[in-house]
Amino acid sequence: MARKKRPKKGLGGQLSFSDIVSISDFSRNDIEIILSEAKKLEKMPLQAKKQLLFGKTVATLFFEPSTRTKLSFETAAQNLGAGVIGFADANVSSAKKGESLSDTIRVVSDYADIIVMRHYIEGAARLASEVSKKPIINAGDGSNQHPTQTLLDLYTVEKAFGKIDGLTIGLFGDLRYGRTVHSLAQALALFNDVGLVLISPETLALPDYVKKQIEGRIKYIEAQELSEFIKELDVLYVTRIQKERFADPVEYEKVKGKYGLNKKSLEKAKENLKVMHPLPRVDELSTDIDQTKHALYFEQAKNGVIVREALLNLLKDVKKW
């Protein structure tokens, strides 16, 4: 699909864009640049890292609250020595007074070198990237995109296996409404020979429009029983099934049991199967897995900071126009 790409500026011809808005913009090369930057920063001593964004300002504009994501970005910015400005809630921002998003972003892009934003309105980050003089990082726009989650998921897989190509990855739970799994499936389709096993209740299967995006680029099968496929999997990515998705509470209770994961459900798994989850969890992921070698989700959460550091460092000198 034709998408508007900005001219490569200030990135040494690295990334093919100057804003992190949507996984749909990414090529495999873009993903690899970010993952290798993260790898590099992970090995760097904190004192050296502190110099990377010294004197720079990162704005975190959270029009919709998300404490975890905000803390992760702010930690990343501070680890690189940047100053942080921003707000955590649209109620305290100018948006409440009726200022347009475009105006808010234009003003802030004079103060900050990079803008991280989360908004409940879908497409807000794309619009912001078109009016901002400085790079925008989308930290979630409604149910549309949350690209840094996908990047940290990919980084976590690559770190655990040394590769992404050739792995068999199970996506488990609510595959219909979860934007996390949509973006992940889209991104995995950029790699070679990845097999996807889509395990969900029939009513919560991956939507057709997502299947169309990955069709022909990745092999996938759909299933309703985890037990049939658990032996095959290298990664099992668990998502929560929300009660609101079911009109009938009895139906929900049935599904909840079947799509909850515990130590017993992993008995037949490969020894090096890794379980991932975007966190926070409720009861779909039992704590009895935490102490097993299968648990990768705390590591995954920790990787959020390092991947965000990589993005900040790659975008710090971008001049858009």
């Binding site: 034709a2 309105i121 879908e122």
Partner: protein, 153 residues
């Protein structure tokens, strides 16, 4: 521009103006919507026999040319239609309307949570396979029926 069939004349030819031919059946009403209020005389035929399409719609507008935006909207909802400009009973310009790859400002987004429905920003859609339209901003996908009902008039 005589529109003659075995049964005779469906629409009286016009001396001057615009005719839109080979419209898929049912699209003439949307074309009227696109043309909107006008002092020009408009003649419409719906579901008349066509060698090319089996059946088709026709819209003749007297003494008027359409704006580029109106033509682009007709191309979007009825690709393959033929647009003729008539002067002194002669076709002076004939063009086959093609489905655009990108449409700017012509339709509105179906997603109520889309930024284009919240803030004054021109809509942009990419037309993909099977005539689906993907919003540049919220990335939601609309079917042809969805966006035919969402023409910005």
């Amino acid at each position: 521009m005589v529109k003659k069939t075995k049964d005779g004349l469906y629409i009286k030819p016009i001396e001057k103006g615009t005719t839109i031919d080979h419209l898929p059946v049912g699209t003439a009403l949307h074309v009227l919507n696109i043309i909107g209020k006008t002092d020009s005389a408009i003649t419409v035929a719906i579901g008349v026999p066509s060698r090319k399409l089996g059946k088709k719609d026709l819209v003749f507008v007297e003494n008027k040319t359409l704006s580029n935006e109106q033509i682009a909207q007709i191309a979007l909802i009825a690709p393959g239609a033929t647009l003729n400009i008539i002067e002194k009973n002669e076709v002076i310009l004939k063009s086959r309307l093609e489905m655009p790859k990108k449409v700017v400002g012509l339709i509105t987004c179906i997603n109520p949570k889309c930024i284009t429905n919240m803030e004054s920003v021109e809509t942009i859609f990419y037309i993909e396979n099977n005539a689906l339209a993907r919003c540049h901003y919220c990335e939601k996908i609309m079917s042809k029926d969805d966006y035919t009902a969402r023409l910005r008039l």
